[in-house]
Amino acid sequence: MHVRPRSENTTMTAALRDRVVPLALGLGTLIAALAAVEILIRVGVINGFIVPLPTDVAASFGKVFTEEDIVNRFRLTFLEALAAGAMITVVGVLLGLLLYRVPLLRRATETWVAALASAPTVLLYPLFLVIFGRSASTIIMMGFVAGLPPVILKTVEGLSGIRRVLIDVGRSLKLTPTQLFVKILLPAALPTIFVGIRLGLIFTLINVVGVEFLINFGGLGQLINDLFERYELSETYAAICFVILVSVLFFVITERIERWLRPAQ
C-alpha cells in the first residue's frame, strides 16, 4: 500500500487554518471592537463620562502601576489567596481522606459537601465580618470556605478511583497506614486531587478579590473600589483589566500544572 508522505505545504496550511486564522480573527475582532468604541466615544454616540476612551485606559496602566502601589496590592492579594489555598489543600485533602477511610461518614455527608459546593457561600461575608472584623482574616476565611468543597469531593473521588492492585502491593509490603498514604494513595490520586485543588483555588481567588472589593480592604479588589469611589474612570477600567489579566494568568498556570500531572494517571 502506498502511503503518501504529508508535504510541508500541507502541514503549514493546516497550522495556518487551525492556529493563525482563528488567533487573527479573535484578536482582530477585539481590536476592531475597541476601535469602534473609541470612534463612537469621540463622535459623541457613547458618553465619554460613562465609558472612557480605550486609548485613555491603556495610558492609565502606567499611572495605576506607579501611583497606586499595585505591586504591593498584588502581593497582598496573592498572599491572602496563598494562605487560603494552603488551608483548602491541607484541610480538604485530610477531610477527603477521612471520608474515604470511613465509608459510612462519606455516605452521610458527601451530598452535604456537594450542596455546599453549589451554595452561595460568599454571601456569608457579613457574618465573617462580625466574627473576624474588617481584616485579612475575613478575606482568607471567605476564600477558604469557598474553595474547600471541591478539594474534599475530588480527593474522595481520586482515592476511590485507585486501582485495588496498587493498595494490595502496599499491604503486601506491610506499609504502615501513613506510608500507604504517602507512597501509594497520594501519588495515585494526585491528578484528580489537583483538579479539585485547581477548582478550589479558582473559587478562592474569586472570593478573595470579591470580598476585598466588597469590604474595601486589602489588595486588588480594594484598588478597584478606591478608584471607583474617586471616580477615576479610565484608571478604574485599567485596574479591572489588570485583575482580569492576573486571573487569566493564574488559570493558565494552574491548567498547565494540571495537564503536566495528568499523564501520571
Binding site: L23, T29, A117, L123, L127, F213
Partner: protein, 262 residues
C-alpha cells in the same frame, strides 16, 4: 440462589440506609448542641452566636412579615430577568460556537478564561452603565450567568450524535428547524447543567451587588442586618437564602436528571 440473595440484600441495604440516617441526625444534633453551648457560655461577644430559640424566633418573624416577601420578589425579579438575558445570549453564542469550528477556535478561549474571573469587580462599570437601581443588578446577574451557559451549550453541541444531525439534514430541515428539532432536544442535559450553574452565579452576582449598593432585595436585608448588628435576623435571612439556593439548584438538577456533585 439469586432470589435468596435479593431477599438478604434488601434488609441489609435498609439497615445501611438507617445507619446513614442515624449518623446524619447525630451530626446535626451535635452541631446544634455545640452551638447552643457556645451561645450560653458567654465566651463570645453577645449575639455573635445567638441561642437557637432566638434564631428560630427571628426566622419565624422574617417569614411571617410582608416586608421579607417584597424584598424576595425584588431579588427574584432581578435574577429572573438577568438569567433570561444572560441565558438567551449565552445560548445563542454557545450555539454559534458549537456549530462553527473557526468561531470556536477564535473566541471560545476568551469565554473560557473570562468565565471564572470575579464578576463583582465589574459592578462599578455596571453602575456607570445602568445606574444604582434595578438595572445594574440585572446586568450583574446576566453577566454572571452568560459564561457558563455559553460554554456549556457550545460543549453540548459538539457532543451531539452525528447520526441525529444527518437525519435532520436528510429531512432537509432549515437552520431554525435544525435548532429546535435536533440541536436543542439533543443538548437538554448540558443546557440544563449550564442553566443550573448559571442560576447559581446569577444569584451570587445579583445578591452581592445588592449588599454593595442597594435599598431593596435580600442582599440589602443581609447587609442591613449587619449594619444594625441584628445577628439573629442575619442568621435567619442566610438560612432561608441557603435553603432556597440549594433547593432550587437540586430541583433543576433533578428535572434535568443530573448529578449535583462538583
Amino acid at each position: 440462589m439469586a432470589a435468596t440473595g435479593a431477599v438478604t440484600a434488601r434488609p441489609a441495604r435498609r439497615h445501611d440506609a438507617q445507619r446513614v440516617l442515624a449518623l446524619r441526625a447525630a451530626i446535626i444534633l451535635t452541631v446544634l448542641l455545640i452551638w447552643e453551648a457556645m451561645a450560653r457560655s458567654g465566651l463570645l461577644y453577645r449575639d455573635v452566636v445567638p441561642k437557637l430559640a432566638v434564631i428560630a424566633t427571628a426566622l419565624w418573624s422574617l417569614l411571617t412579615t410582608e416586608e421579607y416577601y417584597v424584598h424576595l420578589w425584588v431579588t427574584v425579579r432581578e435574577i429572573g430577568i438577568g438569567l433570561f438575558i444572560g441565558g438567551v445570549s449565552g445560548l445563542v453564542v454557545g450555539l454559534l460556537l458549537g456549530a462553527n469550528r473557526l468561531l470556536a477556535r477564535a473566541f471560545e478561549s476568551y469565554l473560557y478564561y473570562l468565565g471564572p474571573t470575579p464578576k463583582i469587580i465589574f459592578f462599578p462599570v455596571m453602575i456607570m452603565w445602568f445606574g444604582v437601581g434595578f438595572g445594574s443588578k440585572i446586568a450583574m446577574a446576566a453577566l454572571s450567568c452568560f459564561f457558563p451557559i455559553a460554554l456549556s451549550t457550545a460543549a453540548g453541541m459538539r457532543q451531539i450524535d452525528k447520526v441525529l444531525i444527518r437525519v435532520g439534514r436528510s429531512f432537509r430541515l432549515n437552520a431554525w428547524q435544525m435548532t429546535t428539532k435536533i440541536y436543542l432536544p439533543a443538548m437538554r442535559a448540558p443546557i440544563i447543567n449550564g442553566v443550573r450553574i448559571g442560576l447559581g452565579v446569577a444569584l451570587i452576582g445579583a445578591l452581592l451587588a445588592e449588599t454593595r449598593l442597594s435599598s431593596q432585595g435580600i442582599g440589602f436585608l443581609v447587609i442591613n442586618a449587619y449594619n444594625v448588628f441584628d445577628m439573629p435576623r442575619m442568621y435567619a435571612i442566610l438560612i432561608v437564602l441557603f435553603v432556597l439556593a440549594i433547593g432550587v439548584n437540586a430541583g433543576i438538577a433533578k428535572v434535568g436528571g443530573l448529578q449535583t456533585k462538583a
